[in-house]
Amino acid sequence: MRRFALIAVPYLWLLFLFLVPFLIVFKISLSDLALAIPPYAPTFKDGIAEMLRQFDFENFVFLTVDDLYWKAYLSSLQIAFFSTLITLMVGYPMAYGMARAPEEWRATLMMLVILPFWTSFLIRVYAWIGILSNDGFLNQLLMWIGLINEPLTILNTNIAVYIGIVYTYLPFMILPIYAALDRLDESLNEAAEDLGCSRMQAFWLVTIPLSKNGIIAGCFLVFIPALGEFVIPSLLGGSGTLMIGKILFEEFFNNRDWPVASAVAVVLLLILIIPIVLFQRNQQRQAEAEQ
């Protein structure tokens, strides 16, 4: 009985926070646009049987007809992939530095990584507008140093989107990698060096493989939310920035087409299921290995 209760909790969690919302969205994706409140038909008011009769996959077919959608999915995948890569390259050395820092420093360093979360995410992204705009701090600084004569156009381009994503998700990369590196036994590196490895070789052959789980966890924690990101591309990105989050917003707000918007969301979720399952499996394997 106790065991059952233990299993039931996470499943109830999944049921109410994932499956039920998903089914609602899925139901809307099978209905049709209507000028009413709510703006789709059929609804539960029409009766379940009638509702089921009117359901169809028209909206999903529509997504394949227009090349906008798969282009947006691809472009989102690309942006999410490269920003994950950049976040890893920036985050790994930081996590490494933290793990190698003197014991008494670590709590402070950890604090510094978490500190930005004390301010609203929206405000932090807005602050980047002030930094990156043509007459923003960055351009003023670069011109003052004399590196450039003309301001660089960064804001409203994909570069700004990358900067925004890397900045926002950096702590999600640092923390799991730090956790992995922190547990790493320093004597393993020493042993590798004793056996003839250079420091560099020891890093590649010992440290990296042993922090693999942290790297994988960090990458998924960045990649998954970055794929559906809406706020960052809409505030920092330009009109040429094509991301599925923006398309979703447009379907909802400009076309007022909830059914197609829901279909876009369902497909996004299907795309996300692959990395989510991989992530879960990795976490599970890690947990088992530790037992």
Partner: protein, 361 residues
């Protein structure tokens, strides 16, 4: 005896606190009111005013059509108002509770009938035109002294836009504003509901879109005012606000607004009451308050938009009533056009076209 007095004091404070707890929720456009009016309303009526803002009709409409928006008064523009009336999003206004309605201006009431044929659901708040905001000095620097600052050629002729791109151009992120303008420039009917006609706007807009730095419906006020862009295609009052902010900052930026000579879109933002308004009584009080001649004048003097209130005109500042950019001359008024809402199928064509124009796909 003493006890009863105490009792009645307690009762009356209780009543007063209950009256204080009464609340009205208003959802209006951003930068669209003299904020001292909000305090004045609370002082006069004792009703708590919750005042939220939006910057696009689309956001408002999504909230309304989802139902349960929680607002008592909202301010949709013409075509959106019409569609939302059809969707059953609004309730009829009880005119007996709106004594100030006699202050309204019949000319605007007539034009508003295109969207609210019986005049049952909405009363006009502000109206204006969509046109060209320019940083006069910068534009002349780039295009020369005879730059066409009152013609759509300024923004629809690629040769001009190529040069203007260096100093920055913003467009409204609203196809329902830009596409009619493009059609007017091409000599077509701006209110066309024919997909083939509307599609003629696409090559024109595709050619100039790369030179538009941003499509956004509110950021251009600041961007114009601080001189970081030189042209904005936007709403009259917003551009005039930018003009004023620049003048106040004394930063050497001179902004001018012109309704294009090819014809300009005339739009109406009107008060309406959601069908599920939690406190319609208080909502009507707010609408009535805003139709008071003094208050309507204060709002217009602050936001630089013309209002639909005839009685307020005597109370308007000279730089509002006397400015043809705000209260157009008879001749310009004839040149203004209005548009109708697209049906869902056409709306999809338009939105798709808009995405394609903006992102190239």
């Amino acid at each position: 005896m003493k006890f009863t007095i105490m009792g009645s004091i307690a009762a009356s404070t209780l009543l007063a606190s209950m009256a204080m707890a009464e609340e009205v929720r208003v959802y209006n456009w951003s930068d669209y009111i003299d904020e001292s009016l909000l305090q004045k309303f609370e002082d006069e009526t004792g009703i708590d005013l919750v005042y939220d803002v939006f910057d696009s009709n689309e956001v408002l409409e999504t909230k309304l059509l989802a139902g349960g928006s929680g607002y008592d008064v909202v301010v949709p523009s013409g075509t959106f108002l019409q569609r939302q009336i059809t969707a059953g999003a609004f309730q009829k206004l009880d005119k007996t509770k709106l004594p100030n309605i006699e202050n309204q201006w019949d000319v605007i009431e007539d034009r508003l009938k295109k969207y609210d044929p019986e005049g049952e659901y909405a009363v006009n708040y502000m109206w204006g035109t969509t046109g060209l905001g320019v940083n006069v000095n910068k534009v002349k620097e780039v295009l020369g002294d005879d730059a066409p600052i009152d013609s759509l050629a300024l923004i629809f002729d690629p040769a001009n836009m190529e040069k203007l791109a260096s100093c920055g151009v913003y467009f409204l992120d609203a196809p329902v504003e830009i596409i009619p303008a493009a059609l007017a420039y091409l000599g077509e009917n701006p209110d066309s509901q024919d997909a083939e006609v509307i599609e003629q706007a696409e090559p024109l807009l595709t050619a100039i879109a790369p030179h538009v730095q941003k499509f956004h419906s509110s950021e251009y006020i600041n961007a114009l005012a601080n001189g970081s862009i030189c042209v904005a295609f936007g709403w009259s009052g917003d551009i005039l606000q930018a003009r004023d902010r620049a003048a106040e900052a004394d930063n050497g930026v001179e902004i001018a607004y012109n309704a294009p000579t090819e014809g300009a879109l005339m739009w109406f933002d009107s008060f309406a009451m959601p069908v599920d308004a939690p406190n319609p009584e208080a909502g009507l009080k707010f609408i009535n308050f805003m139709m008071d001649a003094q208050n309507a004048a204060a709002a217009s003097n602050y936001v630089y938009y013309a209002n639909g209130n005839f009685a307020s005109q005597a109370l308007l500042a000279e730089d509002v009533i006397g400015d043809p950019a705000i209260y157009p001359t008879e001749k310009t008024l004839k040149n203004l056009y209005t548009t109708s809402p697209y049906d869902p199928k056409l709306q999809r064509v338009v939105t798709r076209m808009w995405t394609k124009i903006k992102s190239g796909t």
